[in-house]
């Protein structure tokens, strides 16, 4: 994965997570806020309902007081005060009073609790009013709930009680309104709110006793738990009812216990508040949050891509430039498009390459000068050695011609030999330099490296046996996998020969010369190791420098030639050595099969194998 993609992924992921988190937090905060608002709204609606309920109670009280203050009631009170009233005379009075005051329940009761006239159950005259079973009830200022017996059952009423005492015997006026669907329908409720009444006429939950303004409600069992909870606890309770799978149909119900005068639970008022508006707003907020979050994430990805491109481009330019520099091209320059850290980095990079280029040029110049100086020194040194005998020989001739003319011929004869020998030596020196400067390009052909190594070893085995260096043992360790490769056999033989000669020179006291080949990762490795005196680290660093030598008679070109040959074959050479622990030269060569000029050279195993073993090469030990 590229740095650009990594950066894009990191930035996009970070931004996406941030946006998603913010969207979730906003949605959650909004949801909580709406939850609180919904609860507050429900509480406000319930309070409003209770006020409305209380207002209805006050209205009932006013109407009952109006009945108590009416002339007809006064006349009845007077009749009651005088004795037993004529029920027939007042039979329809309660009903007419109830109709005039729009009350469902009106009962006129004497001090013993006997009903004189009843609007809700006219035939009940002469019977006892239930609430007088334990004596006259306490007079309540406000309206109260009362369970009213009717011919066809029992009903709840919001009632008020007033007493009229015009004589010794009081007359009680009990009036009220029936808590039924009509009562619920007349309640002035806000939109989205409804009132459901449960008439608690017996233990447990009975769906038929649950009514709202439109009649019996559907799915009454959904409200059974909260009804039973209030029945058991006698306290208010709240529940959210899910009428269907659509959350818009949900309703929050606040259950309010309705208690009678003796704290008996007579009914339960369920104030329902629709959650439709809340759910719709919440869903809109959630949708908006999702939309904004999605758009934010998409935008963040696009911006991240743009930003990554913008940020990465200088880095990519730097990477490409660094790669160029690594390849040796110091003339690369990174464009500087900003003044930020990346711009400063680019500027620094450019400064670095400029300085490296200048240093390289100075180094090349210095090396060139040093090489010329070394060459001059070597040339002077090499040339000075033969020139000095030449000078002595010529001076000796001159002296012999002046001092001993008789011996001049002999001297001349002898001096001429010397002069010729030294001149030949000069020519040889010049020839070597000429040869180094004219290193040929390798001519690749199919080569068996083990054969080349073995040929070289055979060449030197004869030399080692015939010389005084018989205490040097030569060992071969050839890897059969390191077989065919493309190389110039003559140059390869020359390089190996140079390294073998160096190894022999490094073991004046004898030792072991080991030559190994091996194949690894489709590359051929050749190692020439000796057990000689070894090299100092600083010597190792300068070992392949042309004209560097630590020998008295060396030109310093041998290892330089080896390195040149290896490099021309696309390989590399290095040295491992330590004082007293011998030296190992390691050559790594590619197979270079693609360098073969014709397919026949690549495929045929019957190519001409270079025979180098019999070829004697005069190699200077550099």
């Amino acid at each position: 994965m590229t740095f650009r993609r990594k950066l894009l992924a990191v930035v996009a992921l970070t931004v996406s997570i941030s946006v998603a988190t913010i969207a979730w937090v906003v949605s959650d905060v909004a949801r909580r806020a709406f939850d609180r608002a919904g609860e507050e709204r429900t509480a406000a609606l319930v309070a409003q309902f209770q006020r409305e309920f209380h207002r209805r109670g006050e209205d009932v009280v006013r109407r009952v007081e109006a009945i108590a203050a009416s002339d007809d009631t006064t006349r009845m009170a007077l009749a009651v005060g005088r004795g037993s009233p004529d029920y027939g005379a007042y039979f329809n009075l309660a009903k007419s009073l109830g109709e005039s005051q729009q009350l469902d329940f009106v009962e006129l009761v004497d001090g013993q609790g006997t009903i004189i006239s009843s609007a809700q159950w006219p035939a009940k005259f002469g019977y006892k009013e239930n609430s007088f079973a334990g004596g006259p009830p306490a007079l309540a200022k406000d309206a109260f709930l009362k369970r009213e017996e009717l011919p066809d059952g029992v009903a709840l009423g919001l009632c008020a009680l007033r007493v009229l005492s015009l004589g010794d015997k009081p007359l009680y006026v009990i009036g009220g309104r029936k808590l039924d669907r009509d009562f619920l329908a007349t309640l002035d409720l806000p939109a989205g709110m409804r009132a459901v009444l449960y008439e608690n006429l017996g233990p447990g939950f009975s769906p038929q006793l649950l009514i709202d303004a439109s009649g019996n409600i559907s799915q009454p069992d959904k409200l059974a738990p909260i009804v039973q909870q209030v029945q058991q606890s006698g306290n208010e309770a709240s529940v959210t009812v899910h009428w269907s799978s659509n959350p818009r149909d949900d309703e929050i119900f606040q259950a309010i216990p309705l208690q009678g005068g003796n704290s008996q639970l007579l009914g339960i008022l369920l104030v329902g508040s629709s959650r439709r508006d809340y759910v719709e707003v919440n869903q809109r907020i959630r949708s908006a949050a999702l939309l904004i979050g999605g758009a934010g994430i998409l935008l963040s990805i696009l911006l991240s891509a743009w930003a990554a491109t913008r940020v990465i481009r200088p880095v990519e330019n730097l990477a490409a430039a660094a790669k160029e520099v690594g390849a040796g091209n110091l003339r690369v320059e990174v464009p500087v498009n900003s003044a930020d850290e990346l711009g400063q980095l680019a500027e620094a990079f450019n400064q670095m390459t400029r300085e490296l280029l200048e240093q390289k040029e100075r180094l090349v110049q210095t090396e060139r000068v040093a090489a010329w100086r070394e060459l001059a020194r070597r040339l002077a040194h090499e040339l000075k050695n033969p020139l000095f005998p030449l000078q002595l020989t010529v001076e000796n001739l001159i002296r012999a011609h002046r001092q001993s003319p008789e011996q001049f011929d002999d001297v001349l004869q002898e001096s001429s030999s010397t002069l010729l020998a030294e001149i030949a030596n000069l020519k040889k020196i010049i020839s070597r330099f000429s040869e180094f400067s004219a290193m040929p390009q390798p001519h690749f052909q199919r080569v068996q490296i083990n054969e080349v190594v073995a040929g070289t070893e055979r060449l030197f085995q004869a030399q080692l046996r015939s010389s005084e260096k018989t205490n040097i043992t030569c060992q071969l360790d050839l890897d059969p996998r390191a077989d065919f490769m493309a190389a110039d056999p003559e140059l390869l033989h020359r390089a190996i020969t140079n390294l073998v000669l160096n190894a022999i020179d490094a073991m004046p006291q004898g030792g072991t010369l080991t030559i190994r080949t091996r194949e690894e990762k489709n590359r051929v490795h050749v190692e020439i190791s000796d057990t000689g005196t070894g090299l100092q680290p600083e010597e190792c660093e300068r070992l392949f420098t042309p004209y560097y030598t630590n020998k008295q008679q060396g030109t310093g070109l041998g290892l330089a030639i080896v390195q040149s040959i290896v490099t021309d074959h696309g390989g590399s050479i290095n040295v491992r050595s330590a004082p007293g622990r011998g030296t190992t030269f390691h050559i790594e060569l590619p197979r270079n099969l693609d360098k073969l000029t014709t397919p026949g050279q690549q495929d045929s195993r019957h190519v001409k194998e270079s025979t180098v073993a019999a070829k004697s090469t005069s190699t200077d030990r550099g």
């Binding site: 029920y87 027939g88 159950w121 006219p122 035939a123 005259f125 019977y127 011919p151 066809d152």
Partner: protein, 456 residues
């Protein structure tokens, strides 16, 4: 001075006396406006599809006559038949017709028309004209045949092939809107004398409330009121005419008592009912407590049947029985008084440990029923009430009061009915201009005698 004053005094006295006599003397003319709750769609007296009621009978009496009529004492009086004779077996009756009687189409009343009219409603009789008389032969002795003929369903009507019906009554139809309005004009040549009023406009299908409003607004002269309202009207000094307690209000069980326990429970229920309170309060003192089916004024023996409340006895009976199932007591939803009676009875029954649930459903175990006595003839009335209440017909071996008593006793011992009250079958309130508006004991009116005066 002294001599000159006497003539003036005499003149003034004569004028005042004349004025006073003019105010009380019947006057001809005017239109009597009547409102009623019934809404008949047919004026045929033989149409049995129309429900029978005192209001319908009174309506038909304006158009049709019967051969005989019943007076308030339950005696047969001549009408279209001026006389009659019966053979000893009570199976052959011969009625001699009144002369110079015409139908409303001015055709004379003949024996064949009467025979044709009676045949249509009495297929069991053999009826044929004989000169100026009509002979009715019965398969069985019919000592009460004249009372039967006095019923409005046996009113004499002439039916034309065009479907028009004519009677011999004091009025004839001027305009007829079935179920809505009936306008009648006085029959000038009525055999009983021309009615005082020139015409009658009868608004049909009017509710009690609308009738009262019409009366209060002066848009009606005669309206129907319930018996329970008679007291209130009387207290308001309104003119009220009421019949005798000729309507029975009773509890009628749907089924006969299936066991002795059932019969005893029904007896306990009958004993628990406080009829006096129902009468005094619900019916505002109108009517009489009923222990029997026929009222005391009709039978003379009704006091024998107890009608007082005996709660102790009811509790004792109830206590003797192990259990009692709850009853439902039905009432006519259109009859608020019946509902009140049902509710009161339920309360009374609760005192005796019996459970009754009032209901407007027709499928109740018992119902509060009304049965108007169609005639002042006790035997015929008993049979009619038994039919109206769905009871078995009383078996009578004779026509004496003792036979009647036995028949009624047998009916009551079935425990299928519990008589409650006898209340007036008809109560009318009239405006002050209506004069001589009286009702017979059975509620029959005599509008031909009514005249319109001035308001006091």
């Amino acid at each position: 001075m002294r001599r000159s004053g006497w003539p003036l005094l005499v003149v003034i006295s004569v004028v005042l006396a004349h004025a006073a006599s003019a105010a009380t003397r019947p006057q001809y003319g005017g239109t009597l406006r009547v409102a009623t709750h019934i809404a008949p769609v047919s004026l045929d007296p033989a149409d049995t599809s129309q429900s029978d009621s005192i209001a319908r009978r009174n309506l038909l009496s304006l158009l049709y006559d019967t051969l005989v009529v019943m007076d308030n004492a339950g005696r047969i009086q001549p009408a279209l038949a001026s006389s009659w004779q019966v053979e000893s077996t009570n199976q052959r009756w011969q009625f001699f017709l009144r002369k110079d009687v015409e139908f409303q189409d001015s055709s004379p009343l003949r024996a064949d028309a009467i025979a044709a009219s009676l045949r249509s409603n009495n297929p069991g009789w053999t009826i044929y004209p004989t000169g100026n008389s009509v002979v009715i032969e019965c398969r069985t002795p019919e000592p009460n045949l004249p009372a039967e003929l006095a019923l409005s369903r046996n009113a004499i009507a002439k039916r034309t092939p065009m479907g028009t019906i004519f009677g011999t009554g004091p009025f004839q139809v001027a305009e007829w809107q079935p179920g809505k309005k009936l306008t009648l004009t006085a029959q000038e040549g009525y055999w009983g004398g021309r009615p005082f009023v020139d015409s009658i406009v009868i608004e049909l299908g009017k509710s009690s409330r609308d009738q009262m409003i019409a009366l209060d607004l002066g848009k009606a002269d005669v309206v129907e009121v319930g018996p329970e309202a008679a007291r209130r009207f009387a207290m308001q000094s309104r003119n009220v005419a009421s019949s005798a307690p000729a309507e029975l209000i009773a509890l009628v069980f749907t089924r006969s008592a299936e066991s002795a326990d059932q019969a005893r429970l029904r007896e306990a229920l009958a004993l628990s009912i406080d009829r006096a309170t129902i009468r005094n309060v619900l019916f505002q003192g109108q009517g009489d407590i009923a222990g029997g089916i026929l009222p005391e004024w009709m039978s003379g023996y009704e006091f024998v049947f107890p009608g007082d409340r005996d709660l102790q006895r009811a509790l004792q009976i109830r206590g003797d029985l192990r259990q009692a199932s709850a009853w439902s007591v039905g009432y006519d939803p259109a009859d608020p008084l019946a509902r009140l009676v049902a509710e009161r009875i339920s309360l009374n029954a609760r005192d005796a440990g019996l459970m009754l649930q009032p209901t407007g459903s027709p499928n109740a175990d018992m119902r509060v029923a009304r049965a108007a006595l169609p005639t002042t003839d006790p035997r015929l009335a008993l049979e009619s009430v038994a039919t109206g209440l769905g009871l078995t017909q009383p078996a009578s071996s004779g026509n004496s009061a003792e036979d009647l008593f036995k028949a009624e006793s047998v009916l009551l011992q079935t425990k299928q009915t519990i008589p409650l009250l006898h209340v007036p079958s008809a109560v009318y309130a009239t405006s002050p201009v209506v004069k001589s508006f009286v009702l017979d004991r059975d509620g029959a009116w005599h509008v031909s005698d009514v005249w319109l005066g001035t308001a006091p």
